[in-house]
């Protein structure tokens, strides 16, 4: 694998750094100004357009958005598994302080597994159907950690117990199709954990599961995080799910982060009209609203997004200054951030909602 001359030296240095780095950085993952472009017949799709976030050690960050918000692409860009028509146009992805983009492919492969791994939405397509489950879990430790077969098997059985797969000795030799959906997801979690990564990226891991199984998997993830201190980036469209798993949440819309902060704070006191719209439009199992408030309009074009705030065509509070220029993500106090110029209106609207509700009950 030959590299062009000029990039050799800095790349070698980066590789060295990556492999020998002590865990000094308080943030295990830092993403800065990430931009992902996809080439398509109709033009260049700006799937991820300037996304930045940090994930502190041991914490879980939720990435919430609907389809087309760019949340899955963000994860794939972090891990470096973008589809062929997509490429990372700019930005930095720093794992333990080292920029992953500057690493060579071989070093990147050695990083994936021991430091960072991923679990996916559809366990059946993420697991190799013709390979025994135990083998798939032990693969990581054998290759990345240099374990002998015996030691890897022992570790696999231990992992299977940790993720709650009953009768691991017998299940070790089973194939993925012999497992139920929830069990397969546990296998995927075991694989993700197998090399003791510092951070696991989760791409809608429970969306395809029944609610009782989802409950089990979510609690498992929370427990594993607490026990081993592994961080999570959890992508989902389901607000209550992110409330259950994560401490921090970033809401994505049109390829950008529009709001960020402590998860309960953001969901109960949103400071961006899109977040407010999401919360209002979802029926809640706790109480009955007379009418749900859908968000009018349609998601923005990612090829030619609207000027100014990307949400303004659908926003009840839009004013003139929302329609032009670029709107940056501004930091508020209490660890919150928002891309809305008039975020106080959200608080007012919520108060009005609650007053109206109080009147009818």
């Amino acid at each position: 694998m030959s590299e062009p001359e000029g990039r050799e030296a800095p790349r070698r240095r980066a590789n060295q750094e990556m492999l020998t780095n002590e865990q000094l950085n308080p943030n295990v993952l830092e993403v800065e100004d990430l931009r992902v472009r996809i080439a398509s017949k109709r033009g260049v799709v700006r799937a991820v357009d300037g996304v930045s976030f940090e994930v502190p050690r041991g914490e879980a960050l939720g990435l919430v958005g609907e389809s087309g918000s760019g949340k899955s692409m963000t994860l794939k860009a972090v891990l470096g598994v973008l589809p062929p028509e997509a490429h990372m146009a700019s930005g930095q992805v720093r794992l333990d302080g080292t920029d992953l983009v500057r690493l060579s492919q071989s070093t990147l492969n050695r990083v994936r597994g021991p430091k960072i791994s991923m679990i996916f939405q559809e366990p059946m397509s993420a697991l190799n159907p013709v390979m025994r489950v135990g083998q798939q879990i032990s693969e990581g430790p054998r290759i990345h950690l240099g374990y002998s077969r015996a030691r890897a098997e022992e570790r696999t059985l231990d992992l299977m117990r940790r993720v709650g797969i009953p009768d691991p000795e017998r299940r070790y030799r089973a194939y993925p199709h012999e497992f139920s959906g929830g069990m397969r997801q546990r296998v995927m979690i075991a694989i993700a954990l197998s090399c003791e990564p510092e951070i696991i990226l989760c791409d809608e891991p429970t969306t395809a599961l029944d609610v009782t199984i989802q409950d089990q998997i979510l609690r498992l993830l929370v427990r594993l995080c607490q026990e081993s201190g592994v961080s999570l980036v959890f992508v989902t469209h389901d607000l209550p799910v992110v409330a259950q798993v994560c401490q921090q949440v970033a809401v994505m819309y049109g390829g950008q982060i529009v709001e960020r902060g402590d998860v309960h704070d953001v969901l109960l006191n949103p400071r961006h009209p899109y977040t407010l719209g999401l919360v209002r439009s979802a029926p809640d199992v706790e109480y009955v609203q007379d009418s749900l408030r859908p968000i009018p309009g349609a998601p923005p074009s990612l090829i030619d997004p609207p000027d100014g705030c990307r949400f303004h065509p659908r926003c009840d509070f839009a004013e003139d200054d929302c329609r032009t220029g670029t709107v940056p993500l501004r930091l508020l106090d209490g660890g919150r951030a928002t891309r809305c110029l008039h975020y106080e209106r959200c608080g007012e609207a919520l108060a009005a909602d609650r007053a109206a509700q109080g009147a009818t009950q």
């Binding site: 799709v45 389809s67 087309g68 009018p296 309009g297 349609a298």
Partner: protein
């Protein structure tokens, strides 16, 4: 009837750009940009024009014999020379193409229709209809294509009508299988369930809802089937089982000419090349159509 008042501005009208989901629906590639399809159409187009314009392109009669002008080489009067009975080869080529193309295009129609109908019934209704049709398919398929066609024509006597009958009896099975397979899948689609729920008759569902969505596969197959039919017709002609002489026919021309291969190679080779060219053109069209009609990959 009072209309329910709904919030305005919820979601754009149908003309607005749809979120790029596409979800596997067909990608309508511009058909004229498809190289295979275009080259195929050009080839076949030219051949058809030549065949149709035959009386304009040549003044000779394809069947008139002129024994004094037999076995002449290519010249200004006879572009491809003459055969052993003094008939102009070029003329016979064009008229032969006419005959064979016409027979082929008609011959592909009957198996298409018969096979599609039987395949639809088998696929949609299942049960004993399916069993019977599939067993018939098994019987026909057990015989090699040419063996059966030649045997049937032999029994029915040579001539155009026999060709149609023979090809229909042998050729319907492929269409039946293809259509049956497509229908088996398509009938589970929810829009079919919706049509059933709407109380539409089975015939209507098959004809209006299912067939238009599955016919493209049969159509693509028809393209390669025409090639096979042309070859069959030429082969039958070669064996003297096709259109009876003196009608010009590519197969019989090849047969007649092979005695003079060493001296007048064009008598047998040129008709052969014509067959190859037609086959090539039709295959290209089939390829191009398959690319367009199949649900696109990005």
């Amino acid at each position: 009837m009072s209309t329910v008042s709904l919030p305005t501005g919820t979601e754009p009208g149908p003309g607005a750009p749809v979120v790029p989901s596409a979800a596997g629906r067909r990608v309508g590639r511009r058909w004229y940009r498809q190289p295979a399809l275009m080259s195929g159409l050009v080839i076949i187009g030219l051949i058809i024009i030549a065949a149709v314009a035959a009386p304009l392109l040549t003044s000779y009669n394809p069947t008139t014999q002129n024994l004094t002008a037999s076995l002449l080489g290519p010249s200004a009067h006879h572009l491809l020379g003459t055969d052993q009975l003094g008939r102009d080869t070029f003329t016979r080529l064009l008229y032969g193409l006419r005959v064979d193309l016409r027979i082929a295009f008609i011959a592909v129609l009957f198996p298409f229709v018969l096979g599609t109908v039987l395949g639809s019934l088998a696929g949609y209704f299942g049960g004993w209809v399916d069993v019977i049709v599939m067993r018939l398919v098994d019987i026909v398929v057990a015989f090699p294509f040419y063996v059966l066609v030649i045997a049937l024509v032999f029994v029915l006597g040579p001539g155009e009508r026999s060709i149609y009958i023979a090809i229909t009896i042998v050729g319907w099975v492929s269409y039946a299988r293809i259509v049956r397979g497509e229908i088996l899948v398509a009938k589970r689609q929810e829009y079919v369930l919706a049509a059933q729920s709407g109380g539409l008759s089975s015939l209507r569902i098959m004809g209006r809802h299912l067939l238009p969505n599955v016919i493209s596969q049969a159509f693509i197959y028809a393209m390669s089937d025409i090639v096979q039919d042309i070859l069959a017709i030429v082969t039958l002609g070669y064996f003297g089982l096709g259109v009876p002489p003196p009608t010009a026919d590519l197969g019989s021309m090849i047969n007649d000419g092979q005695n003079f291969l060493s001296t007048h190679w064009q008598l047998t080779t040129i008709p052969g090349l014509a067959v190859v060219l037609v086959g090539l053109g039709l295959s290209l069209i089939g390829d191009g159509l398959a690319d367009i009609l199949r649900p696109g990959q990005s």
